[in-house]
C-alpha cells in the first residue's frame, strides 16, 4: 500500500510542479493546490499506513493508529484552503486591474 501511495504522491508532485512552471496564473494556483494535496498524502504515509482503533484509552484495542499525522494534515488542510482561496481572489483582482494573467508579462520594473 505504501508503494501505491508513494507513486500517487510522486504523480501529484510532478503534475503540481509542471503546472506551477506554466505561465497562466490559474494553472499556477491549481498547481500549488495539487502540491499541497501531495504533501498531505506524504504526511499520512510517512507515519506508516496501519489499521487500528482510535487512540483513546477506553478502546482497549491491540493496535492504535498514530493521531499526530492526522492532526497535522487537518491543520494543514485548513491553512491551505485559506491560502488558496485568498490566492484566487487576489489573482482575480490582479487580472481585473492589470488586464493579464500571464506571469511573463508581470516581470520586471516599470522604470527599467
Amino acid at each position: 500500500m505504501e508503494l501505491y501511495m508513494a507513486i500517487a504522491i510522486g504523480v501529484l508532485f510532478a503534475v503540481g510542479l509542471y503546472l506551477i512552471l506554466s505561465k497562466s496564473l490559474l494553472r499556477i494556483i491549481l498547481g500549488t493546490s495539487l502540491l499541497t494535496h501531495g504533501i498531505h498524502l506524504l504526511l499520512l504515509t510517512t507515519a506508516k499506513l496501519k489499521t487500528g482503533a482510535a487512540p483513546l484509552l477506553g478502546e482497549k484495542a491491540e493496535a492504535y493508529v498514530d493521531p499526530l499525522p492526522q492532526a497535522l494534515i487537518l491543520t494543514s488542510i485548513v491553512i491551505s484552503f485559506g491560502v488558496t482561496s485568498f490566492f484566487f481572489v487576489l489573482a482575480y483582482k490582479a487580472y481585473q486591474r492589470l488586464g493579464t494573467d500571464d506571469m511573463e508579462e508581470l516581470r520586471g520594473n516599470e522604470d527599467e
Binding site: 506551477i20 496564473l25 499556477i28 500549488t32 502540491l35 499541497t36 504533501i39 506524504l42 504526511l43 510517512t46 507515519a47 499526530l68 499525522p69 497535522l72 491543520t75 494543514s76 491553512i79 485559506g82 491560502v83 485568498f86 490566492f87 487576489l90 489573482a91 483582482k93 490582479a94 486591474r97 492589470l98 506571469m103 508581470l106 520594473n109 516599470e110 522604470d111
Partner: protein, 493 residues
C-alpha cells in the same frame, strides 16, 4: 509551568479580534492597538526578568507533558526577540497613525498588524515544529494582506510573486516535517534534539536538515532572496519597516533554532554549507546595494546583507559567535526598522525614490539627515553605536574558528553597507543640484517624530549600554551553544 509565557501571543490575538469589530472607528483602533502593544511590552519585560532570575520558562498547554502536548518555551533568546519585536512594532504603529491613510485604517490595517505580531511572537515562543509552521502561516497570511492592502497595480503584481514563493516554501516545510517525523517520530524540538543525537546525524538526517535549510533560507532571504527586493518596495513605509524588521528575522530565528538545537551533530557539513550560503548572500546583497540608485532597492539589499551576516554568526557556531549573533540580531531589528522609517521619510519628502531626483535635503530636514547618518554608522558597526559589539564578537569568533575567508567576506560586507548607505546619505541630503526643483518643507505629524526618536534612543542605548545588554544576550548565547540546557528545561520537570 508559567502561564505568563503565552500572554505575549494571546494579547495581540485578542486585540486583533476586538479591532475587527471596530473597523470604522479609526481613532479608537489606533488607541487600542498601541495600548495593547505597550501592555505586551511590559509583560515581556517581566518575562525577561523572570528568565534571567529563574532560567528557561515553559508552559505545557492543558497540562499535557512533553513530548505529547503542545509546549511553549521562553528561553532568553526567544524572549529578547519578542521584546525587540514589540518595540519595533510600537514604533511602526506610531509611524502608521498619520501616514498610512484613513482608507487603509478602515480596511483592517490594525487587525492585520496584530495578527502579524501574533504569528511572529508565536514563532519565537513555540517549542515544537508544527506550531512553528502554524505561526509562520499566521504571520505570512497577515503579511499577504498587509502587502496588498491599497491594491495599486504594483502591489498586486508583487504580491502574486510573494505569495507564490511563500506557498512553495510552506509546502516544502511540511514535507521536511513529514520526513523528519517519519525518521525520528517526534516534532517537539527538545525531544527531536535527543532523538537526532541518538540516531547519529547521518545521510538521511542530513538531507532532511538541508530541506529545512532551503525552507528557512527562502523565508529569511538567505541566498534565495530573489523575491525580496521587489516585494519589500511596494507597501507603504510603516509596513515595510515592520517587514524589514520582523519577517526575515523570523526565518533567521528558525534557522538558528533548528541548527543550534536539532541538527548540530554534523557541523562540518551543515554549518559550512550555511557559511558559504551566508558568504554568497553578503556578496550578492552588497553588489545589489551598491548597484541601485533607488532608495527602496538599496535598503532592501541591506536587509539581505545583514541576513547573510547573522547566518555567518550561526555557521561559526562557537559560544562567542552565538553571543554576537544574538546581539547583532537584536540590534539589526531595531536599526532596520529605523532605517526604513527614515528612508520612507526621505522618499515622501523628495517625492521620488530615485537618488537622481533628490538632493540638498539637509537644509530642509537636518534632523532626519543626521538621524539617517547615525543609523548608517550603527549598521556598519562604528564603536559607540549598537552594531559594534555584535559584529566584533561574530568576527572574532570567526577568526578563532579559523574561517578566515568567510570572516574576510563578513568584514568586507560592512564596507558595502557603509558605501551603499553613504551613497544614499550623500545623494539625498548632501549633494546640491541646481537643476532640481526646491523642496518645500513638509510638516511631519508629531507621532512620526516620536517613533523615529524612540528607535534612535534604543539604538544609542544599545551601543552605550552594550555591557548591560550583553549580560542578557550572553544568557541567550549560552542556551544556543549548549542545547542540553534547553532540553532539560523542557523535558525534565
Amino acid at each position: 509551568m508559567n502561564n505568563w509565557v503565552v500572554l505575549p501571543l494571546l494579547l495581540p490575538l485578542v486585540t486583533a479580534v476586538i479591532l475587527i469589530f471596530l473597523s470604522k472607528k479609526v481613532r479608537l483602533q489606533r488607541g487600542i492597538s498601541l495600548v495593547s502593544v505597550l501592555i505586551n511590552l511590559a509583560v515581556t519585560v517581566l518575562l525577561v526578568g523572570q528568565i534571567s532570575r529563574d532560567g528557561i520558562q515553559t508552559l505545557y498547554m492543558g497540562g499535557w507533558l512533553p513530548p505529547y502536548g503542545i509546549v511553549f518555551v521562553a528561553d532568553m533568546f526567544a524572549a529578547l526577540l519578542v521584546l525587540i519585536t514589540l518595540a519595533a512594532a510600537a514604533a511602526s504603529l506610531l509611524f502608521a497613525f498619520r501616514t498610512i491613510g484613513e482608507k487603509r485604517e478602515q480596511y483592517y490595517f490594525y487587525p492585520f498588524v496584530q495578527f502579524l505580531l501574533a504569528g511572529v511572537i508565536g514563532s519565537f515562543l513555540t517549542g515544537d515544529l508544527f506550531n512553528l509552521f502554524v505561526c509562520f502561516e499566521v504571520m505570512l497570511i497577515s503579511s499577504y494582506a498587509l502587502i496588498v492592502l491599497g491594491g495599486t497595480k504594483r502591489q498586486l503584481r508583487e504580491t502574486l510573486k510573494y505569495i507564490l514563493i511563500n506557498i512553495l516554501s510552506s509546502t516544502l516545510f511540511v514535507a521536511a516535517m513529514a520526513y523528519l517525523y517519519g525518521a525520528v517520530g517526534t516534532l517537539n524540538m527538545a525531544h527531536l534534539s535527543e532523538r537526532v543525537a541518538e540516531a547519529q546525524q547521518g545521510g538521511m538526517l542530513n538531507s532532511i536538515a538541508v530541506m529545512f535549510l532551503i525552507v528557512f533560507a527562502l523565508k529569511a532571504g538567505l541566498f534565495l532572496f530573489f523575491w525580496l527586493p521587489g516585494s519589500y518596495s511596494v507597501p507603504p513605509t510603516a509596513v515595510i519597516a515592520l517587514f524589514g524588521a520582523l519577517l526575515t528575522k523570523v526565518g533567521l530565528y528558525a534557522l538558528i533554532r533548528t541548527f543550534s538545537l536539532i541538527f548540530y551533530h554534523d557541523q562540518g557539513f551543515t554549518h559550512s554549507l550555511i557559511g558559504w550560503l551566508a558568504a554568497a548572500t553578503m556578496l550578492l546583497g552588497g553588489l545589489g546595494a551598491a548597484a541601485y540608485k533607488d532608495i527602496h532597492r538599496v535598503l532592501n539589499y541591506n536587509v539581505i546583507i545583514s541576513v547573510g551576516f547573522i547566518a555567518f554568526g550561526l555557521s561559526v557556531g562557537t559560544r562567542e559567535a552565538f553571543d554576537g549573533t544574538v546581539l547583532y540580531l537584536l540590534h539589526d531589528m531595531i536599526a532596520k526598522a529605523l532605517l526604513f522609517l527614515l528612508g520612507g521619510m526621505i522618499i515622501s519628502a523628495a517625492g521620488s525614490s530615485s537618488l537622481n531626483q533628490m538632493g540638498g535635503l539637509i537644509k530642509t530636514y537636518p534632523a532626519a539627515g543626521w538621524m539617517f547618518f547615525i543609523t548608517a554608522l550603527a549598521l556598519v558597526g562604528i564603536p559607540p553605536l549598537s552594531g559594534f559589539a555584535g559584529k566584533l564578537l561574530i568576527v572574532s569568533g570567526g577568526i578563532s574558528a579559523t574561517d578566515y575567508w568567510l570572516t574576510g567576506i563578513a568584514v568586507f560586507s560592512s564596507l558595502m553597507v557603509l558605501y551603499s548607505l553613504m551613497n544614499v546619505f550623500i545623494g539625498a541630503f548632501w549633494r546640491d543640484d541646481p537643476m532640481l526643483p526646491a523642496v518645500e518643507r513638509k510638516k511631519w505629524p508629531a507621532p512620526v517624530y516620536v517613533s523615529v526618536t524612540a528607535l534612535l534612543i534604543i539604538v544609542l542605548g544599545f551601543g552605550l549600554g552594550a555591557e548591560w545588554v550583553y549580560s542578557f544576550a550572553g544568557q541567550a548565547g549560552e542556551v544556543l551553544s549548549n542545547p542540553s540546557l534547553y532540553i532539560d528545561a523542557v523535558l525534565k520537570e
